[in-house]
C-alpha cells in the first residue's frame, strides 16, 4: 500500500516533469506547428541560468526564486532570436523546422560546452527544499512537491491565457491561418514572436526546475526532448488539456512499469503503449476536428 502510494507520487512527479518539458512545446509545436528540437537546449539554458544566478546571488534560498523568472526570460529570448532569424521564414514547411532547429540544438550544446566547460555543474537546492515530507510511510521529497507546484501554476496560467484571453485567441488564430489573421487586424509577426517567446520561456522554467533533480550539462535537454514530443502528440496537438493528461499518464505508466520491470523495459513499454494508443486515436487524446480536406 505504501509502495503503491509512493509509486503513485513518483508517477505524478515524473508526469509533472514531463509536463513542464512539454508545456512549451504544446505552444510552439502544438499551436504553431514548429517542431523545435532546440527546445531541450532552451531547457538547458534555463538550467545554466539557475547555475549562474546561484553564483551571483550566493544564497540558495533566494536564488531559485530569482532563477525561475530569469530562466523564463533567457529561454524566451533565445526562442525569440530563433523565431526572428530562422523560424519565421519557415511556417509554411513545419517539418523542415525540425531539421533546422536540430542544427541549432547541436550548436547550442557545443556553445554550452565551450562556455561552461565540459564537466557538469550543480545547483544547490535551497534549505527549505531539502528533505522530504512524510505522510505515514510515504515520503514525498520537497523538491518534487515544488516541481509539481511549478507545473500546476504554469499549466493553469497558460491554459487560462490561451482559452480566455485575447492573446490566446490571437495565437490560435494566427496559427490556423496567417493571412486571414493579418486581414482580421492581427499582427501575425508580433503574435508569432510572442508565442514563441512564451513557449521557449516555459522551457527555461522547466530547465530551472530540473536543476533540483539532476545535473546541469550541455546534453540536459536531449534526455527530455523525445518524451516531451511524445507527450504533446499523444495528448493531441494543440490541446493543453490533452498535454496534461498525456504527461500524467506517461509518468504513471513509466513509474508502474518501472516498478514491475526495469527502467529500460519500462521505457520501451511506454513507447509501445503510445504507438498502440495512436492506433486507436490517431490524432491524440483530445482533438478538435475540422471538415476540411487536408
Amino acid at each position: 500500500m505504501d509502495i503503491l502510494l509512493s509509486q503513485l507520487f513518483a508517477g505524478l512527479s515524473l508526469g509533472s516533469v514531463l509536463l513542464l518539458a512539454a508545456l512549451g512545446l504544446a505552444l510552439t509545436f502544438g499551436q504553431m506547428g514548429v517542431i523545435n528540437m532546440a527546445h531541450g537546449e532552451f531547457m538547458m539554458a534555463g538550467a545554466y541560468t539557475a547555475f549562474v544566478v546561484q553564483g551571483v546571488i550566493g544564497s540558495a534560498g533566494i536564488s531559485l526564486l530569482v532563477a525561475l523568472p530569469l530562466g523564463f526570460v533567457v529561454g524566451g529570448l533565445l526562442g525569440l532570436l530563433l523565431e526572428a532569424t530562422l523560424i519565421h521564414r519557415m511556417y509554411h514547411r513545419p517539418l523542415d523546422t525540425l531539421l533546422v532547429t536540430w542544427g541549432v540544438a547541436l550548436v547550442l550544446q557545443q556553445v554550452a560546452r565551450d562556455v561552461f566547460g565540459a564537466p557538469n555543474v550543480d545547483v544547490t537546492a535551497p534549505e527549505w527544499l531539502s528533505g522530504a515530507v512524510t505522510i505515514g510511510d510515504v515520503t514525498l521529497p520537497k523538491t518534487r512537491l515544488f516541481i509539481l507546484t511549478v507545473a500546476i501554476v504554469c499549466v493553469a496560467t497558460l491554459s487560462i491565457a490561451l482559452k480566455a484571453t485575447p492573446l490566446g485567441r490571437r495565437i490560435r488564430a494566427v496559427v490556423q491561418n496567417r493571412d486571414l489573421a493579418e486581414t482580421s487586424g492581427v499582427s501575425s509577426r508580433g503574435t508569432d514572436r510572442l508565442t514563441f517567446f512564451i513557449g521557449s520561456g516555459l522551457a527555461g522554467i522547466a530547465g530551472v526546475a530540473l536543476t533540483l533533480l539532476g545535473s546541469i550539462g550541455p546534453t540536459l535537454g536531449t534526455s527530455y526532448i523525445v518524451d516531451a514530443f511524445l507527450v504533446v502528440v499523444a495528448g493531441g496537438i494543440g490541446q493543453i488539456k490533452g498535454t496534461v493528461i498525456a504527461a500524467t499518464a506517461l509518468g504513471l505508466m513509466q513509474a508502474f512499469f518501472e516498478y514491475s520491470t526495469t527502467a529500460s523495459v519500462a521505457k520501451v513499454l511506454v513507447f509501445v503503449v503510445i504507438v498502440a494508443f495512436l492506433q486507436v486515436r490517431p490524432q491524440g487524446l483530445v482533438t478538435v476536428r475540422t471538415r476540411s480536406l487536408v
Partner: protein, 393 residues
C-alpha cells in the same frame, strides 16, 4: 577462457609499419570524445594527457624525440572511435594511441589495434574479462576495485546489498561478479536495478531501494545518472548513516555536479584520489591546477591517463625502440612512481598493479582514503585467482 584475440596475421600493406622515427619527433595519438555525451568525462582525460605530454617534452621527450600529438575526436560514438583509430594508425602513423573511456569505445577499437598491430593505452576502470596484446589497461580491473570494495563492505559487517547500475556492459558484468562474491560470502543481494544511460528519474528505483532496506547500496551507475540518483536519494531522506552507497564510477569530477551536500559521507572505490598523500601527487595536482585552473580537480581516470603516457615512455625507453613488438616485449615490469603510488605493468595481461583505495567523500567535495589494500594488487582481469569467481568467465 581467454578471449580469442588472434585477429589474423597483421598485414603488411597496413599496420604500424609507417611510424616514422627518423626525425627528432615522434607522433602519438590522443583519441577522446571532445563532443557528444561523453565529452563531459573524456575532456578531463584529454587535459591530463596533454599535461603529461608537455611535461615529457619539457623533460627531453622520449628517447630524445619530442612528442607530436595528433588529437582526434571520438564524438562519443564507438564507430567513430574505430574509424579515428584506423586513421591515426594508418594515415598519421602514430606510435601509440591514448584514450577511450566507455567499454563500447574500447571494444570498437580493439579489433583495429589488433589487425593494424598498434598500441592503445586505455585509462579507465572497466569490467575486466579482456586482455589484448595491443592494449595496455592503466585503469583498474575488477579485482583492483570492485572486489576490494566488497571486501571492505564485508569487513564493515554489511550483510545485505542492493545493486544499482546503468544498463550496459560494465555494471552488468560488475554485478555478476558481485553476486558471485555475495553468494560465496553469505551476503544477501536484495535487489538489482538498471537504468538506461542518461536516465534522470530515479524516484522508482529509490523507492525500491528504500523498501528493500539493505545494509548498503553498491552503485555502478555511470555519468549523469549519478547526479539524479544521489539527489533523489538524499531528498528521499536516505544518507550514509542509514544506508551507505559505495560507488565505483563517481570521482572528484562528478561530485561538483552532484552537489557535495547530496553525497557527503558516501563511499567510493578507486585507485587514486586527489587527496592521496604522495610527493608525486602533490606535484601532479599542482601542475594540473597551474595549467587548467585552481578550481579543477583531479580524478582516477585522469591520473591513470597521465600514468599511461609515462608508462609508455618507460616501455619505449626500456626497449630503446618505438616498435610495437619491442614495446610489447619490454613492457613487463615497467613501473612508474605515479601520483597514486608505484604502478607496475604486468606483461602477461597488459594491466597494471595498483593499490585499491576505499574513500569517503568529504564536505569539501574531495575524497579521503578510508581504507587501502596492502600494497598494489596484481591485476587479474579474468578473476582466475578467486575460487568464488569460477565460471564467471
Amino acid at each position: 577462457a581467454q578471449v580469442d584475440t588472434a585477429g589474423g596475421e597483421p598485414s603488411e600493406a597496413t599496420g604500424a609499419g609507417c611510424v616514422d622515427t627518423s626525425g627528432d619527433t615522434v607522433k602519438i595519438g590522443f583519441l577522446n570524445s571532445l563532443s557528444g555525451t561523453m565529452a563531459i568525462s573524456e575532456q578531463t582525460v584529454h587535459d591530463s594527457l596533454q599535461l603529461a605530454a608537455s611535461e615529457i617534452n619539457a623533460d627531453g621527450g622520449v628517447l630524445g624525440k619530442e612528442l607530436e600529438i595528433v588529437t582526434e575526436d571520438g564524438q562519443s560514438e564507438p564507430t567513430v572511435f574505430a574509424e579515428k583509430a584506423t586513421k591515426l594508425i594508418t594515415s598519421d602513423c602514430v606510435a601509440a594511441v591514448f584514450g577511450g573511456w566507455t567499454s563500447a569505445s574500447r571494444k570498437a577499437m580493439l579489433p583495429v589495434f589488433e589487425s593494424q598491430d598498434s598500441l592503445l593505452f586505455y585509462p579507465v576502470q572497466y569490467e575486466g574479462l579482456e586482455s589484448s596484446p595491443n592494449i595496455f589497461y592503466t585503469g583498474a580491473t575488477t579485482n583492483q576495485q570492485i572486489v576490494p570494495g566488497l571486501d571492505y563492505l564485508a569487513e564493515q559487517g554489511v550483510e545485505s546489498l542492493f545493486l544499482v547500475g546503468s544498463d550496459y556492459v560494465f555494471p552488468r558484468t560488475a554485478n555478476k561478479i558481485i553476486n558471485a562474491y555475495a553468494e560465496a560470502h553469505g551476503i544477501e543481494v536484495l535487489g538489482e536495478e538498471y537504468a538506461p544511460l542518461g536516465h534522470t528519474d530515479f524516484s522508482t528505483i529509490v523507492n525500491k531501494v528504500r523498501s528493500a532496506d539493505a545494509d548498503a547500496v553498491f552503485n555502478t551507475l555511470n555519468g549523469d545518472s549519478n547526479v539524479a540518483f544521489f539527489k533523489e536519494y538524499s531528498n528521499a531522506g536516505l544518507g550514509p548513516d542509514d544506508m551507505p552507497v559505495l560507488s565505483v564510477s563517481i570521482a572528484e569530477e562528478e561530485i561538483g555536479g552532484i552537489g557535495v551536500e547530496n553525497v557527503e559521507g558516501q563511499l567510493t572505490a578507486w585507485n587514486y584520489y586527489q587527496t592521496v598523500d604522495t610527493p608525486e601527487n602533490a606535484a601532479f595536482v599542482e601542475a594540473f591546477q597551474a595549467e587548467y585552473g585552481a578550481d579543477r580537480v583531479t580524478s582516477d581516470p585522469m591520473e591513470a591517463a597521465y600514468d599511461s603516457l609515462y608508462l609508455w615512455k618507460g616501455m619505449v625507453e626500456k626497449a630503446e625502440s618505438f616498435d610495437v613488438a619491442d614495446v610489447q616485449e619490454a613492457a613487463d615490469g615497467v613501473s612508474f612512481d605515479a601520483p597514486e603510488g608505484t604502478v607496475t605493468v604486468n606483461g602477461d595481461n597488459h594491466h597494471i598493479a595498483k593499490t585499491a583505495l576505499i574513500g569517503r567523500i568529504g564536505d569539501d567535495g574531495l575524497i579521503y582514503t578510508e581504507w587501502s589494500s596492502d600494497g598494489p594488487i596484481e591485476p587479474d582481469p579474468f578473476l582466475e585467482g578467486y575460487d568464488w569467481a569460477e565460471g564467471l568467465s
